[in-house]
């Protein structure tokens, strides 16, 4: 039977973590995502599923707790918001280098610096292009609803273990704080010791006589071995680009213009699209769901169909660079964004479409 609930996006993440059979959550309070830790502490999953929930002394400690737990083959996660994610970047780089599966949620707020507690999408570059040191990629999922906040937790863990790679849910303060109806997933039991040994034979579960010792490290001082390691990471990222691209297309079949937007901006663009279509402008909406791997191919195809694209992001223009690369600069691609926690209105977006692309 369907279990429906009215929930905040942040609460949906927390509930989904318990239901996904997560073993460990390690976090530190920061607005606008503190409800995740609060919800988990109120639910006390350590008394039901046995999931460990711990408020760490810092974001740095929290991500390193995830490193320790993930190294044991456990399903571990942390959540934070922009300034906290910056602090976690050291650990994320180590996790990527050591090829550990885990889930990181960023409920993005405005920056740079302490910025604002209001929503933003200013961490697109950080999430998709690196953020920490060295060559690595996160698999990045961008939810546009409370439902997706819930669904992407389980999906995120599945992908993390499939690729032995950290997965990030790149949300924002709008999705984290707003309330919507959610269909909750069925509760999966936590993995047993036997399942962990089967799923993650590389994990540090204690050296038994039947195998060599397992070592989790991102260090290799031998240049030829380290190069081999980095190239194997590259193959993994290419496999993600082949297999894991996710996106949504709305009204694209007859579209002459396209909004390209992710997360909460895509919700605004949906309304803007309706307004524009009432005015007779044939506009569609393309929503990347995976920000890495970025849906280059479908956008390139649409680039041959439409007259121009407008990316709407609550930042100074970050994803727009990937859209321009995808369409190989063959058509005009403009950007519109608001800052400081100001959310663009659908009317504003339509006006920008008319002036920058149609009238221009």
């Amino acid at each position: 039977m369907k279990e429906l609930r009215l929930m905040k996006g942040n609460e949906a993440i927390a509930e989904a973590a318990i239901r996904a059979g997560a073993d460990g959550y390690f976090g530190y309070p920061i607005t606008p995502q503190s409800e995740i830790l609060e919800y988990l502490m109120a639910q006390k999953p350590y008394e039901t599923t046995g999931m460990v929930v711990l408020q760490a002394e810092s974001e740095v400690a929290a991500i390193n707790m995830v490193y320790g737990g993930a190294s044991c083959g456990k399903k571990c996660m942390t959540t934070s918001s922009s300034p906290g994610i910056s602090l976690k970047m050291e650990g994320i780089s180590y996790i990527a280098g050591a090829e550990l599966p885990c889930l990181i949620v960023n409920v993005v707020r405005g920056g740079p610096g302490l910025g604002t507690i209001q929503p933003s999408q200013g961490d697109y570059f950080q999430a998709t292009k690196g953020g920490g040191h060295g060559d690595y990629r996160l698999l990045v999922l961008a939810p546009a609803s409370v439902q997706e906040m819930s669904d992407f937790v389980s999906l995120g863990f599945d992908l993390a273990f499939k690729y032995r790679n950290p997965v990030m849910i790149l949300s924002d303060g709008v999705i984290g704080q707003m309330m919507e109806k959610v269909e909750l997933q069925e509760t999966k039991p936590r993995w047993t010791k036997e399942e962990i040994l089967k799923m993650s034979p590389w994990a540090t579960t204690g050296k038994t006589p039947d195998r060599e010792r397992n070592i989790i490290t991102s260090l290799d001082l031998d240049p030829s071995k380290q190069e081999k390691h980095v190239l194997s990471l590259e193959r993994k990222y290419k496999a993600m680009e082949e297999n894991e691209v996710r996106y949504e297309k709305i009204n694209c079949d007859d579209a002459e213009y396209l909004f390209v937007a992710f997360g909460s901006s895509s919700r605004i663009c949906q309304k803007a699209m309706d307004i524009a279509r009432e005015k007779g402008i044939k506009v569609g909406l393309f929503r990347p769901i995976t920000l890495f791997p970025f849906p280059k191919k479908p956008l390139k195809e649409l680039g041959g169909q439409v007259k121009g694209m407008l990316t709407v992001e609550m930042n100074l223009g970050q994803m727009v660079e990937d859209v321009r690369l995808a369409v190989e600069c063959k058509i005009p691609v403009e950007h519109y964004g608001r800052h400081g926690g100001i959310i663009p209105t659908p009317e504003e977006v339509v006006k920008v479409l008319e002036t920058k692309l149609i009238g221009g």
Binding site: V52, A56, E57, A61, Y67, G68, G69, C72, I216, T217
Partner: protein, 258 residues
């Protein structure tokens, strides 16, 4: 009295000592005279004697002992600089039936990882911290550490540590002893056989206490760094006795109450 030949002496019934099987048969990366190798051996002797190889997870730091996992035949994780206690916290909480230890140097534990150290100790996490204090950054080439003594020379305090400018050495072991989460805090050395045996006893006690969920056990080993100190191994041990021990006195600082 009859003189015994070599063959007559080397017999199984005369065997009094043998290298533990849990040290990987490879050359250590440490300088001759360094204390790390001895502490590694004591750790693995305890793990072997307790029969807990399959139950033990170790964490290597950043520093000279970053490659400890090449020498210890147990499952190990390598932590970012200073973060070992955070890793150990999660491992022990997620697998409470395991024995977990961190192995950290002074820069790792008492400078960049101070927050992780203090909070893991304060929460009373049930793992063991082995803290090697030689008052210098060995791996990076002899820079000043948080535990470098006043007036002691290092490459980033070439005229000696001026406490007016560079601050004072941190007695982190005394600090963690004040926290309710630690159950056993002790300071040792490995420069004489008698002291080596004391370290081994302390490690065994610490493992047993952590398994019994008594809280965090913290073992400091005051050690030398003859390369970083620019001395011979013998000079370094003498210098350690004369200068390090008065500042970092050996012995138990906190023992569990029954």
């Amino acid at each position: 009295m009859e003189t015994l030949s070599k063959e007559q002496i080397i017999k199984p019934e005369n065997l009094v000592y043998k290298r533990t099987n849990l040290l990987v048969d490879t050359a250590l990366s440490y300088c001759p005279g360094c204390g790390h190798g001895v502490v590694h051996r004591m750790l693995m002797e305890v793990v072997e004697e307790m029969g807990i190889q399959s139950e033990t997870i170790g964490i290597a730091p950043v520093g000279c002992s970053v490659l400890a996992y090449d020498f210890l035949d147990i499952d190990m994780q390598q932590a970012a600089h200073g973060r070992a206690p955070a890793l150990a916290t999660a491992i022990k909480r997620l697998m409470p039936e395991k024995y977990v230890f961190t192995y950290q140097g002074d820069g790792d534990l008492a400078a960049i990882g101070t927050a992780e150290t203090i909070h893991a100790c304060n929460r009373g996490e049930n793992f063991v911290i082995i803290f090697i204090n030689n008052g210098i950054y060995g791996m990076t080439g002899g820079q000043m550490a948080p535990t470098t003594l006043p007036n002691m020379k290092a490459s980033t305090c070439p005229y000696g540590r001026d406490t007016q400018i560079m601050g004072n050495p941190l007695k982190i072991t005394e600090i963690v002893a004040t926290l309710p989460g630690t159950c056993f805090v002790t300071r040792h050395s490995v420069h004489t056989p008698a002291n080596v045996r004391k370290v081994k006893r302390a490690i065994r006690k610490a493992f047993e206490l952590s398994y019994a969920k008594k809280g965090l056990s913290f073992i400091e080993v005051v050690s030398n760094c003859n390369s970083g100190w620019k001395m011979t191994p013998v000079q370094a041990n003498k210098w350690m006795e004369e200068n390090m021990f008065p500042f970092y006195p050996l012995g138990d600082i906190k023992v569990p109450t029954e």
